[in-house]
Amino acid sequence: MTLVLSALILWAAAWWLNVRLANGPTAHTPATKLLVPVIFGLTLLIMWELIVRGLNVPLVILPAPSLIAARFAQSLPILWADFVQTFVKGALSGYAIGCAAAFVTAILIDRSDFLRRGLMPVGSFVAALPIVGTAPILVMWYGFDWQSKAAVVVVMVFFPMLVNITAGLQETTQMQRDQMQTWAATYWQGLWKLRLPAAMPFVFNGLKISSTLALIGAIVAEFFGSPIVGMGFRISTSVGQLALDMVWAEIVVAAIAGSVFYGVVALIERWVTFWHPSQRR
């Protein structure tokens, strides 16, 4: 009980500190912007540790963070192999293919209003097919290795990307398009010089959403059949073996990989859409 109580006290103290930091004079420095969420995350972790110990939660239900960290450190080669299989081979390739396909489709749709009005409703219907249903089908079609995982990722990211690119291409104002007209610009000139750059904030919005979807898709697809390597494989087998510390180590890898992926996309966004008001400061 004392451990649980100290967890609550810790929580209050950390929150007080964060409020001070966030409203203090240094609130806008990069260091504080990093520090505040880190303190928050650390607090959660320590509370988790204290509560798990305090309430004597069995290892096979929820391991303490310290155990997870130990397992993580011991299993680096396995985690790395799983990461390469799932993230690099499955998620990244699927992400690239899916985004590229969405791009080509968006341009096709853009050229034909008929296609746009026909495809978008059908597309949103198809996008509503849940991954737990499509994943087994795709595993059946594309085999057990990373190709089927990539296929699942393609299916998952395609539509969000398509919607965003299509919306982005509509983003120009009437005036900007008229301007192109007065210069007698061709369709491709207008696309290349005006509409694609203008669409970039939307495109990156789609890329960011898809970056989290991609990893989740690749992991979930491994639940439905895989070679004996991969994050999803490891998670599901480890649950069966009651190696919950390993499960959580993989989840940590997933969270880190996902966040870093998201962060990288956000960084590139900063760089490409430097001109957008949301990126200027």
Binding site: P58, V60, P136, M140, F223, S226, I228, G240, Q241, L242
Partner: protein, 309 residues
Amino acid sequence: HSDNSVKLQLQWVTQAQFAGYYVALEKGYYEEEGLDVTILPGGPDIAPPQVLAGGGADAMLNWMPSALAAREKGLPVVNIAQPFKSSGLMLTCWKDTGITGPQDFKGKTIGVWFFGNEYPFLSWMSQEGIPTDGGDDGVTVLKQGFNVDPLIQRQADCISTMTYNEYGQVLDAGVSPDELVTFKYEDMGVATLEDGIYVLEENLADPMFKEKMVKFVRASMKGWKYAESHPDEAAEIVLEYDETGAQSEAHQKRMMGEIAKLTAGSDGSLDEADYQRTVDTLLAGGSDPVISKAPEGAWTHEITDEALK
């Protein structure tokens, strides 16, 4: 939540594999013992030991390798009854791949279930001296999904099947037995004990709980024996309890027929020789052992002795 309630966690979805319990429930055998039994179906993501540890169930069905592994992981589960005498696990291969015996597995692709069900296979392979990490000298292992597609689609040369379930599905897909080669673990001498009833060791210290389990095992075995002698009726009872509505009658009837063969030799009490063979097989498991030392106190005859008096 009355004191006479028992929650049983199954290993898999409702099917004839668990017919004995459903028959006991339907026929009122539990009721006769004064028990209020709830049967919780399992699924691909459910680890029965975890449910047991979390207090979600009083007893679970599990394969012995998985249960012993859990015991080593610090979850002291104890076998109190063993309704399944023999193993239904086998490897089913296409004959045209040229496989005639374990020595031919090298270089082939084999589908295996994981989630605790991979232990018998890994033990077997390490006894045969075949590495399981791919390459020309070893076998390439796939984590098999929930159906027999990998074999039918020829993504794997062999897959794991149960005599009572997947093997039937392969035949259902139109494959004739002549096209297949099968290796029963039982015949290979690497069989491990399957569906047994397990409870938490700490609970057994409680006489009330023990008494409840005695009644439970007694009624369950009565259910099993009834199911063995009335397979069609048992299958229909199972269908009644299947809430997904996905099972077919023909399939369940055939399954019940096969299950009856596995339970036939058991009165519910664990045969020590079978237990020893299971442990030996598991201990032989090479580089990645399922268990590292012979477990102690992993089973008890106290319940079955009392129940079968």
